[in-house]
Amino acid sequence: MKQIKLTVNGKLYELSVPPWETLVEVIRDDLGLTGTKEGCGLGECGACTVIMEGKAVNSCLVLATEADGKQITTIEGLADGDKLHPIQQAFVDHGGFQCGFCTPGMIMSAKALLDKNPTPSEEEIRRGIAGNLCRCTGYTKIIESIKAAAKNMEGK
């Protein structure tokens, strides 16, 4: 077992984990933050996307020990109490989700994109979520939602 410390949504956790445990397992099973979804477990679908040190990562491909000492944001860390994050609000307003299984990962990829590039072109938005599969929406309303979020967040 390995001792690790990681900060998730601003809260510090100290955990003892087996060396093969992945970050998605830590987040879901040890911390009980089930908002992060596990789809394929192989880094192909993007459902488990979280933000680690400012970058969107597939948490199924990150070993828990690699996350030692890192700052991590999951979907649970976005809203401010009852007030949704502008990206979440845009997904609500523009119907940027259907079954909702890809949604947490999709929103985290969108956040990583907008944090770096607050005024992305449509091409950049499409590229920014190219690692996140969505089988329900055909992406159209997701792209619309991210565009609207970028607009609403302008200057903030």
Partner: protein, 770 residues
């Protein structure tokens, strides 16, 4: 001003907040104290006799609590119809497809359960397999099941009119064969279940099921318990699209039996590799199509001979094969139609339902073949479609096809007209045809799909509307929102009918201990059937409220109106009160009354006639016309789709955001199965069981999608609604293939149209012309 307060408004979905915050819990998100994990051992052979299974080593592994094999289910089997119950929860005497489950383990954690699977020793006698459905039909082919002849799992032979005479009298008759891909649903949530067999004899499961009442009946039958002791609690569902999540799976039965044996809750979550090797995917079909046409382009006859690869078991196959036939008489006037359909057992994974079920194959074949004939005759493709499309029946009249499919509304011609007036089609001549290696083309399709699927013996579909004393409302149905947005649509129907705000309605997900039984989410039936039930239930609750208001104001109930959360006397609007006040008055009236409205659907109860193909498969029918613009790199074969314009007659649009999302999503799923998606199989083995190798569209691949709403008001649907979820997965493939022909002059008759096929076809074309 619209006559409606809620219907037709662009309102956010009712499940939005839970889904964007990660609060929505799916089956795999549930856990119970003391829970065990289940894993399955799967067969390494596609066809083999099981000689012996030794579980002793696995049982001895520390942390293993129970091990089961097929025999532990006592010979129970299940299937879609009584005559086709051919599938055991775990294989008993032989395995019929690769990765069929043969043993189940319950252990203290997932890793231990997996390790124990490797310790189960199975002695197999490998049998010759059969993987091509046409080879499987031949005399002497390996037998997958003993109870049928020549591996024919289901067959239908229908004959309407006189096709032979019609062909003889036709100006042109074409014969072609078309093939569709081995495509799968591709939802991101793998099947999962948390099961608890209470020692007092109750089963409770939290399972990812889009039709939970199938599962409810399966569990009662398998475990020989009354239905009242089966509790299926519905989590949020991470996508369905038919097939797998409509049915029960080996992992479900094993989790329940292992829970019964251990007295502990048992959780099972399928891996994506297991899902992609065993999913109850779309049947891949061969359609031999013969079509006759008069000199003026009028269709005279279609004859279809269809071969469906059924895989190892029957599952929902009888319905798949029916659907591949009955709707071929839509959306064009067709005086003669013959159908010979065969669903054939092979040692491939099971063929079952997927969005656009059955119809997507035969419509693809017929639509492309009709355009090929138009080309031969020199008739414009729009003119060809307009000449044959069924007219919108005048209100109060019914159009009946040769096989007695009846339409009360049909927006086909209007949809074709609107799509061809849109710039993608209208201005195609002004756009470049060739840029470097890229050849551009624009194509068209006109298709139909059923809504409100008819049932086979389980028609019950009800809703309960309970008005609370504070004026809020619980809507209780047996319907399942597996992502398509039906919870929102049902809440909108209830709000409109009651006269309250959408936010005042809370919908409960299925809990079979409390919610009324419902067939499930398939065949685009929820909005139409559960929607009608909801409308009726809300209407009944409203009647009770109006009576309470009338008593208070000393007027007649019909003089009282409820709208936008306000109650008032029509002739004297000064007499008014908020809905919440009326709710309190009604609930506190001293009569002991509870304001409870119930309603059930009257649609879809006429049984399907599978053997004759006569009659309706649906309650009503949607009509979709679509254009597509594509660019083909003639060097590499790479295809880029830049535009879709889709005009859909979905009846009245109840929730525009929801319906648009369905049409967009369906069209992109259709794009995937036209261009990329296909399981590569080698003697029963799936060679691409990952999302890296089974390619689905990404955000980069998606065209600009423009939607056009063709509004009809169908008498058979709540507020005039028809289906919106499946039409565009039927219209996309022919639109894209028609565009490819426009771009490179080749008719592609086999899906998916991969770059290799494009390059090969272009080389062939050059060879033929030199």
């Amino acid at each position: 001003m619209s006559e409606f307060s809620v219907i037709g408004k662009r309102m956010p979905r009712v499940d939005a907040r839970e889904k964007v915050t990660g609060e929505a819990k799916y089956a795999a998100d549930y856990s119970l104290p003391g829970m065990l994990w289940c894993k399955l051992l799967r067969s390494p052979y596609p066809h083999a006799r099981i000689l012996n299974i030794d579980t002793s080593k696995a049982e001895k592994l520390a942390g293993v609590k129970a091990v089961i094999t097929g025999k532990d289910f006592g010979g129970w089997t299940w299937g879609w119809m009584p005559a086709t119950r051919d599938e055991p929860p775990l294989a008993v005497d032989k395995v019929r497809y690769m990765a069929e489950a043969v043993a189940g383990i319950a252990a203290i954690d997932e890793d231990t359960a997996e390790e124990a699977c490797e310790l189960v020793k199975v002695n197999y006698e490998e049998l010759p397999g059969v993987f091509d459905p046409e080879a499987a039909m031949k005399e002497g082919a390996p037998k997958v099941h003993d109870y049928v002849k020549n591996n024919i799992s289901v067959e239908y032979h229908w004959n309407f009119g006189d096709v032979e005479k019609a062909f003889a009298e036709s100006y042109i008759v074409r014969e072609d064969s078309f093939r569709t891909a081995r495509a799968t649903h591709g939802y991101l949530e793998p099947p999962a279940i948390l099961a608890y067999y209470d020692p007092t004899g109750y089963i409770t499961v939290w399972a990812a099921k889009q039709s939970p009442y199938f599962h409810y009946r399966h569990l009662a039958a398998c475990f020989k318990l009354p239905l009242s002791k089966i509790r299926v609690i519905q989590p949020f569902i991470g996508g369905g699209f038919g097939g797998t999540k409509n049915d029960s799976l080996a992992g479900d039965f094993c989790a329940v039996l292992l829970s019964k044996m251990t007295g502990k809750p048992v959780k099972y979550v399928e891996s994506m590799e297991e899902e992609l090797t065993t999913s109850r995917r779309r049947h891949n079909l061969i359609v031999y199509s013969k079509m006759g046409v008069k000199k003026d382009g009028a269709l005279t006859a279609i004859q279809h001979r269809v071969i469906a690869d059924g895989g190892g078991y029957t599952a929902i196959g009888p319905l798949s094969l029916y659907l591949a036939g009955f709707a071929t008489t839509l959306p064009y006037k067709l005086p003669n139609f013959k159908y010979d359909g065969y669903r054939v057992f092979t040692n491939n994974p099971i063929g079952a339902a997927m969005r656009g079920h059955g119809i997507t194959h035969s419509r693809f074949a017929a639509e492309i073949q009709m355009e090929m004939i138009a080309e031969e005759l020199g008739i414009d493709p729009v003119e060809m479609r307009m000449r044959n499309a069924i007219d919108n029946p005048k209100p109060g009249t019914i159009y009946e096809t040769i096989n007695k499919v009846s339409l009360k509304t049909c927006g086909m011609k209007e949809a074709i007209q609107k799509v061809t007036e849109d710039p993608v089609w209208r201005d195609r001549g002004k756009m470049p045809r060739k840029e470097g290696n890229i050849s551009w083309g624009v194509g068209l399709s006109a298709t139909s799909y059923l809504g409100g699927a008819r049932q086979m013996g389980h028609q019950s579909c009800a809703a309960i509307v309970r008005v609370c004393e504070d004026g809020t409302v619980n809507l209780i149905t047996g319907a399942t929102d597996c992502g398509q947005g039906s919870d929102t649509v049902l809440c909108m129907i209830a709000a409109e009918e009651l006269g309250v705000k959408l936010g005042d309605i809370t919908i409960k997900r299925v809990d079979s201990a409390y919610t009324p039984v419902d067939p499930g989410s398939y065949g685009s039936r929820v909005t139409i059937l559960a929607g009608q039930a909801t409308q009726k239930a809300a209407g009944e609750a409203k009647k009770q409220l109006l009576e309470a208001a009338a008593k208070t104001w000393q007027v007649k109930p019909e003089d009282v109106e409820i709208k936008d959360g306000e109650v008032f006397v029509k002739s004297d609007p000064a007499k008014s009160m908020p809905f919440s006040r009326l709710a309190r008055i009604a609930c506190y009236s001293g009569t002991g009354a509870v304001i409870l409205g119930t309603g059930y659907s009257s649609y879809g109860v006429e049984p399907l006639d599978l053997n004759t193909g006569i009659g309706n498969g649906g309650t009503s029918y949607s009509f979709t016309a679509q254009s597509a613009r594509v660019g083909v790199d003639t060097e590499t074969g790479k295809i880029t789709v830049t535009d879709f314009t889709i005009a859909s007659d979905c009846g009245r649009l109840l929730s525009p955001i929801t319906a648009e999302g369905q049409i967009e999503g369906g069209s992109v799923q259709g794009l995937g199965q036209t261009l990329y998606e296909d399981f590569m199989m080698d003697r029963g083995k799936t060679l691409n069981p990952t999302f890296l190798d089974y390619k689905m569209p990404l955000a980069m691949d998606v065209p600009n999608i423009k939607l056009i709403d063709i509004e009809t008001n169908d008498p058979d649907g709540p507020f005039g609604a028809k289906e919106a979820s499946e039409g565009s997965i039927v219209s996309s493939p022919p639109a894209i293939v028609s565009a490819l022909h426009d771009a490179v002059g080749v008719w592609f008759k086999e899906l998916p149209v991969t770059p290799e096929k494009v390059v090969k076809a272009l080389k062939e074309k050059v060879r033929r012309h030199t």
